[in-house]
């Protein structure tokens, strides 16, 4: 049997006396569309931070392809195919859209350390970056600086940067946050079109989108997994209705 692509065992993270992640054991199979839901402050982002190495867990372990990566630096996990987007944009204000994406593509292609040939003469980097820019409908603003764009547009750069890493496992932390509703549908159509063998963990508040997208759902409450099951079971679960859906509908 092949091991799950991404796995956590008894993961715990405390901040001072506060437990943000409370004994989380997750197992995500290859090609899964796994959603992580839960009220604000449940610890969803913290969990993503632990998975990617942005934070170090207090105890427990993270496994990628069956190998323990708990102590592995963030950038090395990216090299192993684990990429993420951030809930709040983390971008490069003075770079243009194309430069930002080219930066990420160059790193993926392993040419980021080259210090002689101009970036403008790395044809393979530029072509791949331009395709991503085009695919994310950013072509018309390709040469505009990030800081000059609306938040919704910037959100697409955030996603482009993650996709540029050509991830096998993609962690999306509320990708549609701050994107106008009309465009968020489009965004999810795009996410649905990602290759089937790409493993995706999605954090999202819009339950309609979650139920359409996911084949597994974990419900996180107060840092612990309350329930993990198929969308049908999760939607019908009384505890979920009480703890989460009741609160989420106002979002």
């Amino acid at each position: 049997m092949t091991p799950p692509v991404l796995e956590t065992r008894d993961l715990v993270k405390t901040f001072g006396g506060f437990t943000a992640t409370d004994g989380v054991s997750l197992s995500i199979a290859k090609g899964a569309r796994h959603a992580l839901i839960g009220p604000n402050g449940a610890g969803k982002t913290t969990l993503v931070n632990l998975l990617t190495g942005f934070l170090t867990p207090t105890s427990g372990s993270v496994l990628l392809d069956g190998a323990d990566v708990t102590g592995l630096a963030q950038h090395k996990r990216v090299a192993r195919g684990l990429a993420r987007t951030f809930q709040i944009n983390r971008l490069f204000a003075d770079l243009t859209v194309l430069e930002s994406v080219a930066l990420a593509v160059a790193e993926q292609m392993g040419v980021g350390r080259r210090f002689w040939r101009p970036i403008g003469r790395h044809g393979e980097v530029l072509d791949a970056a331009a395709r991503l820019v085009e695919d994310l409908h950013l072509a018309d603003v390709a040469h505009r600086r990030t800081r000059d764009l609306a938040y919704g547009k910037q959100r697409l750069i955030e996603i482009a940067l993650a996709l540029a890493a050509r991830p096998r496992v993609l962690l999306l932390d509320e990708p549609a946050a701050g994107v106008p509703t009309s465009e968020s549908r489009e965004l999810f159509a795009a996410l649905a079109a990602l290759p089937a063998d790409m493993t995706i963990l999605l954090i999202e508040h819009d339950m309609d989108l979650v139920f359409r997208f996911a084949d597994r759902i974990s419900v996180l409450v107060s840092g612990a997994v309350l329930l993990e099951d198929t969308p049908e079971v999760v939607a019908g679960h009384p505890l979920v209705r009480e703890v989460y859906l009741g609160e989420a509908h106002h979002v």
Partner: protein, 343 residues
């Protein structure tokens, strides 16, 4: 609107609607750049009496370029950059004074190597902290080296300076003359080569990653980048270039004063870069030209209070040109860029 299709990044071939020309064009030299590099040639004919001063400008420009790499591009604020200038100056001086090797080019290479080593040794300490911590560490390193040079009196000459430096002719052809002709051509040639290297570096994928680290270092690991490794490389490269500048000063003056390691030199080069405009290579060059010239002119007019005047002038310039002297061209450049993409 058609749905987004990120999967298509797997497809081959260029994108249809994204114009790559602006990025491709960025690498090419512009007409104004050619004009700029006629300046040192013009200066040779216009100011034959001032070649020593012009040599100072070239050396300062190399030093400023070095600082621009780490500060303007990579965003490492340092007030101890004279450490590497000084190491290079002493390395070149000792090679001649102690070992009797007076070949200038060999001296440059040696100084660059020793300074790079100093960069490699100091980088873990500097990169460890952030912000003010980092600044303190750079100041500390500078002070320690100064005191070390002071203590090692027998070796460095201490406050009396290092004497007995003699240069053999450049390439075995041109000896260093009293009028400073060889020194000037030599310094400008080295400046030009260093500039070309720096221009390549900042326009490369590596240079792009340095700028990105400057803007948002925390995001870089998520793109697969080891920030420390990149900054270490930049730090070492800058140390080597600062060492070259220091070595040039030694070779063209045949003397090393302990001032090469002084805090004042670190502060001054920072001032020069900010004055010219950090994060743009021509900012370093223009800053060096303007500062050294002003210094010379004001010291002539008022030998006692020149620092007061230069302080006033600098404050004035920086207040009116927020991004340094070269920052003045920004709005025009952006306008031009927009026009070109619209075409």
């Amino acid at each position: 609107m058609t749905p987004l299709t990120p999967t298509s990044s797997d497809r081959a071939g260029p994108a249809a609607t994204v114009d790559l020309a602006p990025l491709r064009r960025a690498a090419r030299p512009r007409a104004l750049e050619f004009a700029f590099w006629l300046l040192p040639v013009a200066a040779w004919f216009l100011f034959p009496e001032n070649l020593a001063l012009l040599t100072q400008i070239a050396i300062t420009a190399i030093f400023a370029l070095s600082l621009d790499l780490v500060l303007g591009y990579a965003g490492i604020v340092t007030l101890g950059h004279a450490a590497f200038f000084g190491v290079g100056a002493y390395a070149a001086g000792m090679l001649s004074a102690k070992l009797g090797i007076g070949d200038p080019l060999l001296g440059l290479v040696f100084a660059a190597a020793v300074s790079a080593l100093a960069g490699a040794i100091t980088s873990p300490f500097v990169l460890r902290g952030t912000g003010l911590t980092r600044l303190m560490v750079t100041i500390g390193i500078g002070m320690m080296l100064f005191e070390a040079a002071n203590k090692a009196n027998d070796f460095t000459g201490g406050v009396d300076g290092l004497q007995g430096i003699e240069m053999t002719p450049l390439l075995g052809l041109w000896s260093f003359d009293l009028w400073g002709k060889t020194a000037y051509v030599y310094a400008v040639a080295v400046l030009f080569v260093v500039f070309l290297v720096a221009r390549h570096v900042v326009g490369s994928p590596f240079g792009l990653s340095l700028r990105a680290i400057h803007m948002n270092a925390a995001r870089m690991p998520a793109l697969g980048v080891s920030v420390d490794a990149r900054l270490t490389a930049a730090w070492i490269a800058a140390a080597a270039i600062a060492g070259i500048a220091g070595a040039l000063l030694t070779q063209t003056t045949q003397f090393v004063s302990i001032d090469v390691l002084g805090f004042g030199r670190s502060a001054e080069i920072l001032l020069i870069l900010i004055l010219g405009g950090a994060g743009r290579l021509y900012g370093a060059l223009v800053g060096a030209i303007v500062f050294v010239t002003l210094h010379h002119l004001l010291a002539d007019v008022d030998p006692e209070y020149w620092q007061l005047w230069i302080g006033l002038v600098l404050i004035g310039i920086v207040l009116f040109a927020r991004n340094g002297l070269m920052g003045v061209v920004d709005p025009f450049e952006r306008l031009l860029a927009r026009k070109e993409t619209k075409r």
